[in-house]
């Protein structure tokens, strides 16, 4: 017995475009603006502006806790934001406590210093104006340590220097000294956890940055003023680069994102046309 195969209609073909076709087109759409930058205009958003103002308003002499928490996947999005915020912080008279929970994050922090050149450009000195900590344990423990029991719990910085011997910690008063917390993360637990720890538990000012896919779950905290501003993925990073006058990778990436998203948009339209066409002309359900 033979089974008569159903003939594939144009709507079926439009609905089932092979993924390699879609992704090849996406790769091409990414390569074009890298090779020939288009320079599409960027309108600075309010959340990034608020984040900038929060950093700007941090009192002189206070300490800024800067949590770097992203691996290779989040690096293209968040590293430009980290560099732009670091430029801003190095210009100010504040002491920065960078901290992270892994060697990959530590490598990212070292790259931030390579780009910002704090010694050459801003006259800052490691141990006197900024420090890097490599902590262990789960996030809540790490945050609690950094915000309230740093010197009692962490014996050394990431480069084996004793914390109590570093000049920047002379006169350090734990929570009271911290003027701002900045977090850049790819983890939903960490981004929400910082609101709980920095804002609710220790009453510290907070600025965040994360992947765009996390924004819809984080916006309520910003709207409730539990967080003063935020960096929304690559677009937010590009905004911040423009605000500090240091256009870098994020500004370049915005072109790539715009063009590759147009390809995605085109396929969403094709998929919807196929759905409607099948419903009205193709006998689909």
């Amino acid at each position: 017995m033979t089974v008569k195969e159903e003939r594939e209609t144009i709507w079926d073909k439009m609905e089932n475009v092979p993924r390699w076709v879609l992704l090849t087109l996406v790769v091409i759409s990414m390569a074009i603006p890298i090779l020939h930058p288009i320079g599409l205009p960027i309108l600075v958003g309010q959340p990034a502006r608020d984040a900038y103002n929060a950093v700007e308003e941090t009192p002189d002499g206070s300490y800024v806790v800067f949590h770097i928490n992203y691996g290779a996947g989040g690096k293209p999005t968040l590293q430009p934001a980290a560099v732009a915020i670091s430029h801003h912080l190095f210009r100010k008279n504040v002491k920065i406590i960078y901290f992270c929970g892994g060697v990959v994050d530590l490598a990212n922090i070292k790259e931030i210093f390579e780009e910002c050149k704090p010694e050459e450009r801003y006259g800052k000195e490691y141990g006197k104006d900024y420090v890097v900590l490599l902590l262990t344990g789960d996030f809540n423990t790490q945050a609690s340590i950094v915000l309230s029991h740093l010197l009692a719990t962490v014996p050394k910085d990431a480069f084996e220097n004793k914390l109590v011997d570093l000049p920047m910690f002379q006169g350090y008063k734990e929570t009271e000294s911290i003027g701002l917390v900045v977090q850049l993360t790819t983890s939903g637990d960490v981004s929400e956890g910082w609101v709980a720890m920095a804002y609710s538990m220790y009453n510290r000012r907070l600025v965040g940055g994360w992947l765009s896919m996390m924004t819809s779950s984080m916006i309520p905290y910003y709207q409730a003023r539990q967080m003063l501003g935020y960096i929304d993925g690559s677009k937010g990073a590009a905004d911040y680069e423009l605000l500090v006058g240091e256009p870098g990778d994020a500004v370049a990436i915005t072109d790539i994102l715009s063009l590759s998203q147009l390809v995605y948009l085109a396929f969403i339209v094709i998929g919807n046309i196929a759905l409607i066409g099948k419903k009205y002309y193709g006998g689909g359900k």
């Binding site: 996406v26 790769v27 690096k75 423990t141 709980a196 609710s200 709207q223 993925g233 690559s234 995605y264």
Partner: protein, 201 residues
């Protein structure tokens, strides 16, 4: 100019191999996948030992901080899960870790996710945005009420529908942002291939 650095070449080749999965699963992709998992596991072990040294063994040396032996014992207890006979002992270590985490987070979470969010939802009623948010929060919550019979009578089904549309809009926004994030993650590799490896960007 094409990079002459061997580590850049290794990273570029592994990037291309990983991308080959788009076309079809293949042995080269499996190799890249296993390399990544092996490297991560190796790094994890080395990192954990280093942290044990920095946070426990060094502070304890010379008889200082003998109390640090307690967390070390609690940590070692977790390994009893590999014993069929004594697996229950592992629960003490896990219970301590879980309890400590909840203890730190719980107090702040109630203020963060309930009290402040409820305040913000009602405080914005003076603006159009605030009114829309309030309506969608209330109707969105109604959508998940399944146990009240009177909600089947009009006008509640209309309110539930409004809530459903609100949820769908939120999911649509989340989907759009997810696409942007995934593209953002791959564009980093594209920049690496064209700029750092091939030197043509």
């Amino acid at each position: 100019m094409v990079s002459a650095l061997p580590d850049v070449w290794i990273a570029a080749i592994l990037t291309i191999i990983a991308t080959s999965y788009v076309f079809k699963d293949n042995p080269a992709f499996k190799f890249a996948e296993h390399t990544f998992i092996g490297a991560s596991a190796g790094y994890g072990i080395a990192y954990s030992l280093d942290r044990l040294r920095t946070y426990a063994l060094e502070p304890m040396s010379g008889g200082k901080h003998p109390e640090y032996v307690i967390p070390i014992i609690l940590g070692l207890l977790v390994y009893f899960r590999y014993s069929r006979r004594y697996y229950w002992i592992a629960r003490y270590g896990i219970a301590f870790m879980t309890g400590q985490g909840i203890g730190i987070a719980m107090r702040a979470r109630i203020r963060t996710d309930f009290i402040k969010q409820l305040q913000a939802t009602t405080a914005g009623l003076t603006t159009v945005d605030g009114v829309i948010i309030f309506i969608l929060v209330v109707t969105g919550l109604l959508h998940f009420v399944f146990t009240v019979k009177s909600l089947e009578k009009k006008p509640f089904p209309y309110l539930v529908k409004i809530g459903r549309y609100g949820i769908l809009m939120a999911l649509g926004a989340a989907f759009g942002n997810t696409v942007m994030t995934r593209l953002g993650q791959y564009q980093g590799r594209m920049l690496f291939l064209l700029k750092d490896w091939l030197g043509i960007a």
